[in-house]
């Protein structure tokens, strides 16, 4: 037993010695190589010149490679046609397509007209009115692509499917967990509304436009840029101020529990704040004071009259010049 131990100790000692020797040799040779390199080092100027030449060569190769690969990273007409076919087959009412990156707006031109195309940088806090499912169409290989849109939509999705690859496009479907489904989106009913200022009826100048006070006040169903996002809304523009309250009486519909809306500046026009009152049968149900900045939400509780079928009126007042994009929807 002891003989075995002696033999083992000898073997370990021999191995250790051999390892130490090998290490010493490698350290010695490395030191010699470093010393040789240091002694034979090029002058600083030459080293910098060589590095610069190498950097130029690398940058040139990388540039050409980038230029050559770029078309393959972007969708072809065939990819777009395939995406069109997919959505034409599978999209349902209440579906929308969110393109990412948001500049990929060829989707508007190519995809079926029945599907709304959303092209926003952010979806956090967006109501996505009437949208039950979102198809995210990603150019995932495009330069500087990020997954920000997917992450924001994933937070509010009840279900998502695995991404479907169509060439350079990637399509993922998300079911919105709590869709905002209004009983009535009031801007869409402006064409059948009656508009008056003070007690004077406004001139119905076009299908969805009213001119009041000889054109001093304009009320129109429009889509405006508010904070970089297209907002369908009723615009009320009164460069010289309203003078009196403007009343928009929408045709009769079932009253829900809440009137939910937003107000923001209409394009470059500013003004406000704006006071919005909800009136039923001449009685004010509730009101909200909304600053005309960004896209500010407001909410009026209508629980005590919910279920009735009546015309609903919005009474808008503002102390000064006004340029507001106002949306309002009746939520069940």
């Amino acid at each position: 037993m002891s003989e075995l131990r002696v033999l083992r100790d000898r073997a370990v000692a021999a191995a250790r010695e051999r390892l130490a020797g090998a290490l010493r040799d490698s350290v010695r040779s490395t030191r010699a190589a470093v010393t040789w390199a240091w002694v034979h080092r090029p002058p600083l100027a030459r080293a910098v010149a060589v590095l610069l030449a190498a950097a130029v060569a690398v940058a040139s190769a990388a540039s050409i490679l980038f230029q050559a690969r770029l078309p393959a990273r972007l969708p072809t007409p065939l990819d777009w046609a395939a995406a069109h076919a997919l959505l034409d087959r599978d999209a349902r009412p209440g579906d929308a397509v969110a393109v990412t990156p948001p500049w990929a707006e060829r989707a508007r031109e190519i995809l079926p007209a029945s599907v709304a195309v959303l092209a926003q940088r952010h979806y956090a806090g967006e109501d996505l009115v009437g949208v039950r499912r979102v198809w995210v169409l990603s150019l995932a290989e495009a330069p500087r692509f990020t997954w920000e849109v997917e992450l924001e939509l994933l937070e509010r999705a009840s279900r998502s499917e695995t991404p479907l690859r169509i060439g350079s496009l990637e399509v993922t479907r998300y079911d919105v967990a709590f869709p905002t489904l209004p009983a009535a989106f009031l801007p869409d009913r402006l064409g059948r509304a009656a508009v008056s200022i003070g007690d004077v009826r406004c001139f119905h100048s076009a299908e969805t436009r009213f001119l009041c006070g000889g054109g001093a006040v304009e009320v129109e169903r429009s889509v405006r840029d508010v904070g970089g996002v297209p907002r369908p809304c009723v615009t009320v523009t009164a460069p010289a101020g309203l003078g009196a309250a403007i009343v928009i009486e929408f045709p009769a519909g079932r009253i829900g529990r809440t009137l939910y809306g937003h107000a923001g500046p209409a394009g470059t026009e500013r003004g406000g704040p704006v006071h919005v009152a909800v009136v039923l049968d001449g009685e004010e149900i509730g009101s909200a004071e909304v600053p005309v900045e960004a896209w500010i939400p407001f909410r009026v509780d209508m629980t005590r009259v919910a279920g009735a079928v009546k015309p609903i009126s919005l009474v808008i007042t503002s102390p000064g010049p006004l340029g507001v994009c106002l949306d309002a929807m009746v939520l069940p």
């Binding site: 100027a45 030459r46 910098v48 010149a49 060589v50 610069l52 030449a53 950097a55 130029v56 060569a57 940058a59 040139s60 990388a62 540039s63 050409i64 980038f66 230029q67 770029l70 078309p71 972007l74 969708p75 990156p101 500049w103 990929a104 707006e105 060829r106 508007r108 031109e109 007209a113 709304a116 195309v117 150019l139 495009a142 330069p143 500087r144 692509f145 990020t146 076009a206 169903r221 429009s222 889509v223 405006r224 840029d225 970089g228 297209p230 907002r231 369908p232 394009g267 470059t268």
Partner: protein, 527 residues
């Protein structure tokens, strides 16, 4: 056959040797090549809002009923519109298109820039640098684009270089007659530069700073040239200070009527851009290889300057001069002195000096890295730097103002970064062919983002069908040609959706999938 080829090659070599033996011949050759290439390409780019102002001044037919409303808020120095008028009138009568004829003025300045760059590079760093420097300037899509349109930026760049060339000669030439002539030239060029863009005045303090620096640090010019004496420098600066304003007043009738009010308006600082804006845009706008060469050139010059100031070596005066001339426009843009224009236009006149420094550094790099094979290595480096840029020019032309480099990720990456997609609606020109082919007869077109004068110029040149009318709002229009700049409001486009009851474009112009122009149509207006 072999003999014939050999003979031809020998002849070409002899011609090349003859041409390359004299700075004047090289400058002339570069100027001629620049003029021919740019004159051929000048008809294709679109018209930005800034260029439309110049074209309106040059061509009375482009002034519509709302001409007063189209003029800019502050008076614009007159050189760009005067040179456009001077070339438009005779050349358009010869059958050249109106827009191209007006742009030939800029092309002439482009030729002047090439020639001045060659002469300055030759005097500073020899023949090879003189051959390479203009190539390093023109091989950038945005530089080439600036040479094709009638905005004053390229003219300022040419006159900036010419003034510096004359200043250097006036300060350092051994003969008194040459110094006098050069001082006069410096004054005249400086006056013309002021007439091109009001922010050119910063050249005078820059050159004064150079003179003061050279004196304080006792920087010497390179061997072979006379040391600049304070008296010589003072005389050229005085010539610039006196002749510059005189030339400006002579060329600008507005100053005759109300000199103080006009000058105050023209020279009022512009809104200051966010900190680092010019550096960020340059980082993403210049092709990566050229950018690397520019950066290396600037760093090389800075190191030489510091080293020379410490050790009092030769050549530091020129390094200081070129570095100051390259840095000045960036500082002017950062301080709001330069006009707030798209892309690199506010500091375009810095770029020829960066090209000069890049040429010197590439040649020095080849010489130091491999002394025995410096010529082939220099040629290889030049090709490596220029080839990707030339490919980029081929890719982006004629929408050169939409060009972004590989660091940005090209046009798609730049769009993701929120960088602007075009300059003042100039990409609308790319949609004209499709509009001509598919718009119904007599359609009224709404052009948000495009200058009304630009639309009239397209129609006058036959690029837009004569039966198509202009609509003032989407409510009155059958079609809308919407340019997307990626940074501003899209309100007119969204109002078009509302008026046309669709958000679906009928057609579009895309650059690497990034939309530059979208065309919307009412039902029946698009065939």
């Amino acid at each position: 056959m072999t003999l014939a080829w050999g003979d031809a090659i020998a002849r070409v070599r002899r011609a090349g040797s003859w041409l390359g033996a004299s700075p004047g011949r090289v400058a002339l050759a570069w100027a001629a090549a620049t003029f021919v290439a740019l004159a051929l390409l000048a008809g294709s780019p679109g018209i930005s809002r800034d260029e439309a102002v110049v074209l309106t001044e040059a061509d009375a037919a482009l002034r519509g009923p709302g001409a007063i409303a189209e003029t800019v808020a502050r008076p614009v120095p007159p050189l760009a519109s005067e040179i456009a008028t001077a070339t438009h009138a005779p050349l358009s009568r010869l059958g050249i298109g109106h827009v191209r004829a007006a742009r030939i003025g800029t092309v002439l300045f482009a030729a002047l820039l090439s020639a001045a760059l060659v002469l300055l590079a030759w005097e500073l760093w020899g023949r090879t640098a003189a051959l390479l420097a203009p190539a390093l300037f023109w091989a950038v899509p945005r530089h080439l684009h600036a040479g094709l349109v009638a905005t004053p930026d390229l003219a300022l760049a040419a006159l900036w270089v010419a003034t510096v060339l004359a200043y250097r000669r006036a300060a350092g030439a051994p003969e008194a007659s040459v110094r006098r002539r050069s001082a006069l030239q410096a004054g005249l060029f400086f006056g013309l530069a002021l007439a091109a863009r009001a922010d050119a005045w910063i050249l005078l303090p820059l050159l004064a700073a150079h003179a003061a620096l050279a004196r304080a640090r006792r920087l010497e010019v390179r061997a072979g040239a006379a040391e600049p004496r304070l008296g010589h420098v003072r005389s050229v600066l005085v010539a610039m200070a006196v002749l510059g304003p005189l030339v400006l007043v002579a060329l600008w009738p507005w100053l005759w009527v109300s000199p103080l009010a006009t000058a105050a308006l023209a020279f009022t600082p512009h809104p200051v851009a966010p900190w680092g804006h010019s550096a960020r845009v340059t980082l993403f706008a210049i092709p990566a290889t050229v950018l690397l060469a520019y950066a290396a050139g600037a760093a090389h010059a800075a190191v030489r300057l510091i080293r020379s100031a410490r050790r009092r070596e030769a050549g530091a005066s020129d390094d200081a001069l070129v570095l100051l001339c390259a840095a000045g426009p960036f500082a002017a843009a950062a301080l709001g002195i330069a006009p707030a224009a798209g892309g690199i236009r506010p500091w375009l006149h810095a770029m020829p000096f960066l090209a000069l420094l890049a040429a010197r550094t590439l040649l020095a790099c080849a010489r130091i890295a491999w002394p025995a094979r410096s010529a082939p290595l220099a040629a290889s480096l030049a090709v490596l730097v220029l080839w990707p840029s030339l490919r980029a020019i081929g890719h982006f032309h004629p929408t050169g103002s939409s060009a972004w480099n590989e660091l940005a990720g090209g046009a798609p990456g730049a769009a993701s970064l929120g960088l602007e997609r075009q300059d003042g609606g100039d990409a609308a020109a790319a949609a004209l062919a499709e509009v001509n082919a598919r718009a119904r007869d007599g359609a009224r077109i709404f052009w948000p983002g495009s200058a009304p004068a630009a639309v009239r110029a397209f129609a006058r040149d036959g690029r837009l069908r004569p039966d198509l009318a202009v609509a003032d709002s989407p409510d009155d229009a059958d079609l809308a040609v919407v340019t997307l700049d990626g940074t501003g409001s899209r309100d007119p486009e969204y109002r078009t959706w509302s008026a046309f009851r669709t958000a679906r474009p009928a057609a579009g112009v895309y650059l690497d999938e990034v939309p530059l122009v979208l065309v919307y149509a009412r039902p029946g207006a698009w065939r």
